[in-house]
């Protein structure tokens, strides 16, 4: 996709990543009886200062994709490149740098912060272990980070339980920012928060991106959140990206039947909005035994004969707009 080859500004690029989890049976002698294809050939890239969102229903592989980027999960196959360099070939020094450059903020601000540590220590910890800062320098950095995320510098002395959910999410963001990362994975960063607090956090994330050019990989099931936060969107179904496009294009001109169904199922922003009714039959199939051909075919209202036999591949139908469906 990048026109200028090596000079691409992609912070991260994922090429045909796969993650298969073995499914085993038996207690004493465990035998592998199959694989869950949690992620099955996913490719995308995220440029500096941009947000790429993965949307799709539970179990479609969004979080596993993020975990591969965070190196919590080792890809079964495929390449992940950081600023053009294959992660698998990084030397230990570079690898440490990568781990510092890629941070994460998760859904639950209650479980992601150590309850026995003061907030200041939580935020400074990566600074002290990764950057050889003196106590004084770290303290200074802490104050500016707290301020950056809208907290008071004296609040560094408090414990996590003394904060509300929204404030804890600010703490998690401050910690993620401390090493000046190039990419932050945001896994449902606002869905556990109160409605009135979500906008505060979304605006904060957008401001920080503007200021520092950090890239975000956003995972969210709320399409309105995705539309507000992203530059590009990938729609996943059963381990594959079935459509990807710039945000405005995706929402105004969805082409894959699953994307159309997702958007038609999105709750309206006004009672007068009537959507085209795209009713899907059935439930999301298990990734242990995905349907043949196009995995969406048992639920697709537009299914063709060939859909159950042939696997569709992503095709660029318009600039930057790729769809994997036999209709096109």
């Amino acid at each position: 996709m990048s026109q200028n080859g090596a000079a691409t500004s992609a912070v991260i690029s994922v090429e045909n990543a796969q993650k298969y989890f073995p499914v085993s049976k038996g207690v004493v002698v465990r035998t592998t009886i199959g694989h869950v294809k949690a992620v099955d050939g996913v490719s995308f890239e995220i440029k500096q200062g941009e947000t790429f969102s993965l949307v799709g229903e539970s179990g479609c592989g969004k979080t596993t994709t993020a975990r591969m980027i965070l190196q919590v999960e080792k890809p079964t196959a495929g390449i992940i490149k950081f600023q053009g360099n294959d992660l698998a070939t990084l030397r230990s020094e570079q690898y440490r740098e990568y781990r510092a450059s890629v941070q994460a903020v998760f859904q639950d601000p209650w479980s992601s912060l150590n309850p026995r540590m003061r907030v200041g220590s939580i935020i400074m910890e990566p600074l002290l272990t990764n950057r050889k800062l003196s106590k004084g320098e770290a303290k200074e950095k802490l104050e500016s980070l707290l301020e950056e995320v809208g907290l008071h510098s004296f609040q560094g002395d408090y414990y996590p339980h003394e904060f509300s959910g929204g404030q804890r999410q600010r703490i998690a963001i401050a910690r993620a920012l401390s090493l000046q990362p190039k990419l932050i994975v945001l896994d449902e960063p606002v869905s556990a928060l109160d409605v009135s607090i979500r906008a505060q956090i979304m605006n904060l994330l957008r401001d920080l991106q503007e200021r520092y050019g950090v890239a975000y990989l956003l995972i969210a099931h709320n399409l309105a959140t995705v539309r507000y936060m992203s530059h590009n969107v990938g729609v996943m179904y059963l381990g594959k990206i079935v459509e990807t496009a710039p945000t405005h294009e995706l929402f105004t001109n969805p082409m894959h039947p699953y994307t159309k169904a997702l958007i038609s199922a999105a709750l309206p922003s006004h009672p007068d909005i009537q959507r085209e009714d795209i009713v899907l039959s059935g439930e999301i199939p298990s990734p242990l035994n995905p349907p043949s051909g196009c995995a969406f075919h048992p639920r697709c209202p537009f299914v063709l004969d060939r859909c159950s036999k042939e696997l569709p591949v992503l095709k660029e139908l318009k600039p930057q707009h790729e769809v994997s469906c036999h209709l096109y």
Partner: protein
Amino acid sequence: MAKQAPVLEVQDLRTYFYTRTGVVKAVDGVSFSLMPGETLGIVGESGSGKSMTALSIMGLVPKPAGKTVGGKVLLDGEDLLQKSNSEMRQIRGRKICMILQDPMTSLNPVYTVGNQLIETLRMREDARGHGLKERAIDLLSKVKIASPETRIGNYPHQMSGGMRQRVVGAIAISGSPKVLIADEATTSLDATIQYQYLQLLRELQKDTGLSIIFITHDFGIVAKMCDRVAVMYAGKMVEFAPVRDLFNKPSHPYTEALMRSVPNVDEEVDKLYAIEGQPPALDKLPVGCPFAPRCPYVFDRCLHEYPTSVTVGENHHAHCWKLI
């Protein structure tokens, strides 16, 4: 058309929790009515008292910490707050029922869904064994569960979240209730599954004339499902409106701010409005208007007196001094 009588009328309902730190006024003078076949939305943030309003109506306030200390809950004119526990057990499920966010809290994991449905039917109708299985299968097909004859032998864990929620729905409608309270009933479902479930509730409502109360923090559910809306803040209903009026002309500053703070799936928004601060603790409510610490329009009077209800349109009221 002759004016219908409301099926449910709640008057000045108060439910308090007595805690070490003080009295938590979870529901503090809530009044509303619900017409036959009508869908009312109750929106508000976490802790605003939506669930406690519902539990107070159902007579299920957690004891001994919580207590409904005042008001009336008139179902077809009869005050539920005056009923004994055993009378309430009869009323729950037959006349009024509730669907919760997590279907597993309503289902028993060790029995098949068929057993649970049949048991419910048996208790309700003193009916004898035969015919019950057919009725159970019939209920499962009413909530659009495919191959109900086999599904009836499933345990809850053998079903997806969406299917379990349908089973809970089947149990809820099995007694042909007049009022259904859905408390965040679709929040944990995936988008396309949630959509199917909402369509299903609509159809059931059309077939049976059921009245529904939707408790949610999501204005999208309100826009899609509700005829009328009540907005709750800190234990009180601060605005009431027909659904279109609420979206076209939100009048209470809290409603207005909240609506401007939610992202829009139908168009790009430049910048969301962010409400400062957070909702107040219910045991430390400020004197006057509870929204005052966060309100951009606050003025002197707001800090001293709780605002009265102001009529801003037909069937549209809001509690705010600025509107006078």
